[in-house]
């Protein structure tokens, strides 16, 4: 694996499968009486959040703590950042505190990339969501959820998502989740289809390794999983779609639409859900919806990422399994 996790494109297929396999082992820790491993004892992980995201932050925090790392939470609100301190100076401060890894959430696309590649700091950088760019650990937890549900917990070990059909619905244009998922799911062999009104599909999408459709009803019967993206109501004001009602009618997932999906197909949502907008309560609360499971899987996937990046002298080498007798 590379030293940083900035984009889902940083992961080869072997890397991605290794993360998912490792996450599967990490998931077992959650079932134990003592949900803690000594693995990252003495390592310091900084959660550097320039954007409010309680869910993602506590997920990373839980992951780091289960691995016994020391966690420093640095949130931009009420800090020197709001007084005009730059990303660079903040990073230098954190490095001086001895951070081994910086988990960064930032409203600007590319901020984690800059942090990792500008020579400001030596720490490992993990992207916890940057602007409208990427959110690779979300994609990993989604892939983990997909593999468990569609391939199987044990049957999935060592495997990808070959031939599985995943449909991603909603505000693709502004979604870092969609970008990371398209890249990662493609790497793992899945067939990805994006469904959105044309206003919410980026110019340039033709170079992405996926299909694009504007017709949700046509795609649903051919989907093993449907991932609903959050649609912010304020997009309406920028004329991306006329009204909330019309959006729901054309792109929302309700019980009637869910019935068009194959029997075993699942509904995913990265949260937080806007019930009534992109997903009805009936769908959100159904057995097919994995939203809550995804939250639990998020901790396992992030434990796997932190372990594989920080658990040795250097990141894991995913092509060879090492074994020793001593």
């Amino acid at each position: 694996m590379k030293r940083h996790l900035i984009s889902a494109a940083d992961l080869t297929r072997d890397d991605a499968v290794l993360v998912l396999d490792t996450a599967e082992e990490m998931a077992r820790v959650a079932d134990r009486p003592i949900k803690k491993l000594p693995t990252l004892r003495g390592r310091t992980i900084v959660n550097l959040f320039f954007e409010d995201s309680t869910r993602t932050r506590i997920s990373f925090e839980a992951a780091a703590k289960r691995l016994s790392a020391d966690v420093i939470n640095f949130s931009a609100k009420g800090s020197s950042v709001s007084k005009g301190e730059s990303l660079k100076d903040t990073a230098l401060t954190l490095e001086a505190m001895g951070a081994d890894a910086v988990v960064i959430r930032h409203p600007a696309s590319g901020a984690p990339y800059r942090l990792a590649n500008s020579g400001w700091i030596d720490s490992t950088v993990v992207n916890a969501g940057d602007g409208t760019h990427e959110h690779p650990t979300q994609a990993l937890l989604d892939a983990f959820t997909l593999r468990r549900r569609l391939v199987g917990r044990d049957a999935g070990m060592g495997k990808g998502l070959d031939g599985r059909r995943v449909t991603i619905v909603g505000d693709v244009l502004h979604s870092r989740v969609a970008r990371s998922n398209v890249l990662l799911l493609h790497t793992l062999g899945a067939e990805v289809t994006l469904v959105a009104p044309p206003t919410l599909v980026p110019v340039g999408v033709e170079s992405w390794p996926c299909e694009v459709s504007y017709d949700l009803d046509a795609v649903l019967p051919k989907s093993d999983a449907v991932m609903m993206l959050r649609v912010q109501r304020e997009r309406m004001n920028a004329a991306f779609f006329p009204t909330e009602r019309e959006y729901s009618r054309r792109y929302g997932l309700n019980g009637h639409r869910m019935a068009k999906m194959p029997g075993e197909a699942i509904v995913m949502h990265p949260g937080p859900m806007v019930r009534g907008m992109e997903i009805t309560a009936e769908v959100a609360d159904s057995d097919r919806c994995t939203a809550v499971e995804q939250v639990a899987n998020g901790v396992s996937a992030r434990m796997a990422v932190l372990y594989l990046l920080l658990g040795g002298s250097e990141p894991a080498i995913s092509t060879t399994r090492t074994e020793e007798n001593n």
């Binding site: 082992e25 003592i34 000594p38 693995t39 658990g311 990141p315």
Partner: protein, 195 residues
Amino acid sequence: MDTSTDASTAGNTDARPVLEGPDIARVLTRIAHEIVERAKGAEDVVLLGIPTRGVFLARRLAEKLEEITGRKIPVGSLDITMYRDDLRMKPARALGRTEIPADGLDGRLVVLVDDVLFSGRTIRAALDALGDLGRPRAVQLAVLVDRGHRELPIRADYVGKNLPTSLRETVKVQLAEEDGRDTVLLGSKQQTTGA
């Protein structure tokens, strides 16, 4: 899989077998009897193999114990990777499987099973891992080969073969489940780790 396998299959003249298939079977049978004897019928025994080859040995031992006692013996696996004390000396390692039998470990006699006992650090890590998984009545250790050179105050309760070695030598256990044949090879480091 690893370098020693390559070396041996490539006909490394330096690596010579010290235990062959029938020896290994005999040794495991003896250990099974010892466990029954010392554990007074092995009623509360749980076997935990340390991945990779310790798991296969634990399963074989469980079969033998079932033959002797006529009872089902719980067997599982205990991956110690995340408890190792040398994690920072190598790139992050892929994890093995930890599988604890359904009835758990509390109040049980846990017999850890590994292929080679060397520095004792693996077993130290295994004891730490066990502590996070439950509270056994007692913990014992069974190994196929004890090659000496302990770096910690740890000893095995059941030993298939004591094999005095020099630090320049390597001991490789091959088992049919993983390597296609049963054998224990003694080689020299220059030859077997050079690849």
